[in-house]
Amino acid sequence: MSNVLLKAERLEFSFGERLVLNGVDLTVQPGEVVALLGRNGAGKTTLLKMLNGLLTPARGTVMLGNRTLDELSLPERARRSAYVPQSITSAFPMRVIDVVLLGRRPYVTWRLSKNDIKIASDTLATLGLDAFAFRRFTELSGGERQQVVMAKALAQEASLLLLDEPTSDLDLNNQIGVMKRIRSVVDDMDQRAAVIVMHDLNAAAAYADRVVLMHEGRVEAVGRPEEVLTEANLAKVFMVEASIDVAPTDGRLRIHVHDEVSASVMHHTKQGDER
């Protein structure tokens, strides 16, 4: 068990009366892409924020490597894990390069070295954003901004990437591009892993090594996509009727969603805003 990037145990959290997380365990190994799936309000974003220390669990512990989050200072956490929120709005028109350079904040006190600037520039290039370097962050589209924040996260050189719906604002082509890049960032660099909150089941099946299916604050199922994304699980968690097969061309799992599960069972679910 020495080679574990992240280990969260028995996490509990509530917003007021509402129990958002109820005993969640999660372990992430280097080289893994883990998809967090579930309905709105299932606790995915809450869990992601907790893994990064943005929220403190009422019970349970999060360990990054061999240290608990409490033992790590904020800059130490930021050197180990990087978080990309779902959307980001900014009141001040910073340049894209300046935003990406913030990823070097955990490493510098005041002065940036040439190496820091090079890392930021290389990250922009990796994500195909170099033409944007001197454009204003505020003038980009939502999807582009999210990409820039991802570049900033990569510039943090953290081993664990925590991404909240990184493709939610992107067109189809860019969705595939981003998922591939996340995959290659994890595959190409030693000791890296990503935990991604997502809604696209087919993308999860295609790019994730493991899927964590969350339901009402608990982990309903966890494992390889073909183990977790079953018709029964999808009916229970998402309240949809789906059929699942394997594509003859590339052997990928294909999820076809047909309809919602009939209304008689719907009254069991509680809907709430995802926090």
Binding site: K49, N52, G53, L54, S73, L74, P75, E76, R77, A78, R79, A82, Y83, P85, I88, S90, A91, F92, P93, M94, R95, I97, D98, V99, L102, G103, R105, P106, V108, T109, W110, K114, I117, K118, A120, S121, L124, A125, D130, A131, A133, F134, F137, V149, K152, Q156
Partner: protein, 346 residues
């Protein structure tokens, strides 16, 4: 592939150069300003020689220079720098471009303190001026204490600070109005004069103290430049995920800004527009990276306050127009021009 590294370094060099040029121009303007006044004008050389006692003083010249113009110019430079920097920092930690040093209610607190001293006719060591100054500072610092207390609360957000500031402004305003209702005409006139904002009140000794205070405090703002960047770009979660503690950064930066504001405003009266305009003009000119933005807006604030005051005291000399009024008259249209022409780069 574009050379991002080279272009970035080149851009930084240009900003540093513009910072130096702006500082040099401001110093020259300060020397020139000391040469102007209702009495005979002095050349820059003569001003320098008189200041350093290298030239035998003819009559009142040195007296006027040292006791009237020098304190004024010092307060303009130090006060302008302090208010502009306070505004720039507060906008960053509150994530709001509409924020100015007046937002937290510090100036309203000072106004209430001054009003109390005037209406109750308090004097300290037989001097009413002292009482007004001291009471204004006391009440401004009470607002700073409220800000500190607020920062200790676990649920405080950027909005809470702004809302509390607005509440304090209303409460203090209502109390001042109540006092005005019962005050004599002379007191009302004195109070109105106080609220105009003026650089003529501080003595040379006061001016030196203000300058020393500002010079000592400004570096602690600069140290926070990176943290200000992360908060200004993405707010609390973004900052925390970047290794910056948003709450403690906000708390310490606001205390610093409020204290700077309190010190300056107690001596000068209310100077409002500067702390909003200087940050924005600087943003348009050098961009939003606080590492260059902060020093640049300090220089910009010093320059704008100096120029506004110099015009105010020379335009209709010997009548001196209040600098607060001059700021709005000159700064307002200039600000609009910059915004509308979008001349800003970077």
């Amino acid at each position: 592939m574009p050379d991002v590294v080279g272009a970035y370094i080149e851009g930084q060099r240009k900003r540093l150069a513009s910072l130096f040029i702006a500082s040099a121009l401001t110093l020259v303007a300060a020397l020139l300003s000391m040469g102007f006044g209702s009495s005979e004008s002095l050349s820059m050389g003569a001003t320098l020689r008189l200041l350093f006692g290298l030239q035998a003083s003819e009559g009142l010249q040195r007296e006027i220079l040292l006791n009237l113009r020098l304190p004024r110019v010092l307060v303009a430079l130090a006060g302008g720098a302090a208010l502009a920097m306070a505004g720039t920092m507060m906008q960053g930690v509150l994530g709001n471009p509409l924020v100015s040093p007046l937002t937290l209610g510090v100036a309203s607190g000072a106004g209430l303190g001054a009003a109390l001293a005037i209406v109750l006719d308090i004097s300290v060591f037989g001097q009413a001026e002292f009482a007004i100054l001291g009471n204004a500072f006391l009440f401004a610092m009470m607002v700073v204490a409220i800000i500190i207390k607020l920062g200790d609360m676990s649920t405080v957000t950027a909005e809470s600070y702004i809302l509390v500031g607005i509440a304090i402004t209303f409460i203090a305003g209502a109390m001042v109005q109540t006092m005005q209702y019962f005050a004599t005409d002379a007191q009302i006139s004195q109070l109105t004069h106080w609220s105009f904002g003026s650089l003529s009140r501080p003595s040379l000794q006061h001016a030196l103290w203000i300058s020393l205070f500002v010079v000592v405090m400004l570096p602690s703002g600069l140290v926070a430049a990176w943290d200000l960047n992360t908060l200004a770009v993405g707010g609390d979660d973004f900052a925390a995920a970047t290794g910056v503690d948003p709450r403690s950064t906000r708390r310490s930066v606001l205390i610093l800004s409020a204290t700077l504001t309190a010190v300056v405003i107690s001596f000068t009266g209310i100077i409002g527009f500067l702390g909003l305009v200087a940050p924005h003009v600087s943003r348009l000119l050098v961009g939003n990276d606080y590492r260059t933005l902060l020093p640049f807006s300090a220089v910009m604030g010093a320059a704008v306050l100096l120029v506004a005051d110099t015009i105010g005291r020379t335009l209709f000399a010997p009548i001196v127009l209040p600098v607060g009024v001059m700021l709005s008259v000159i700064g307002g249209p200039f600000f609009l021009y910059l915004l509308l022409s979008r001349r800003g780069r970077a």
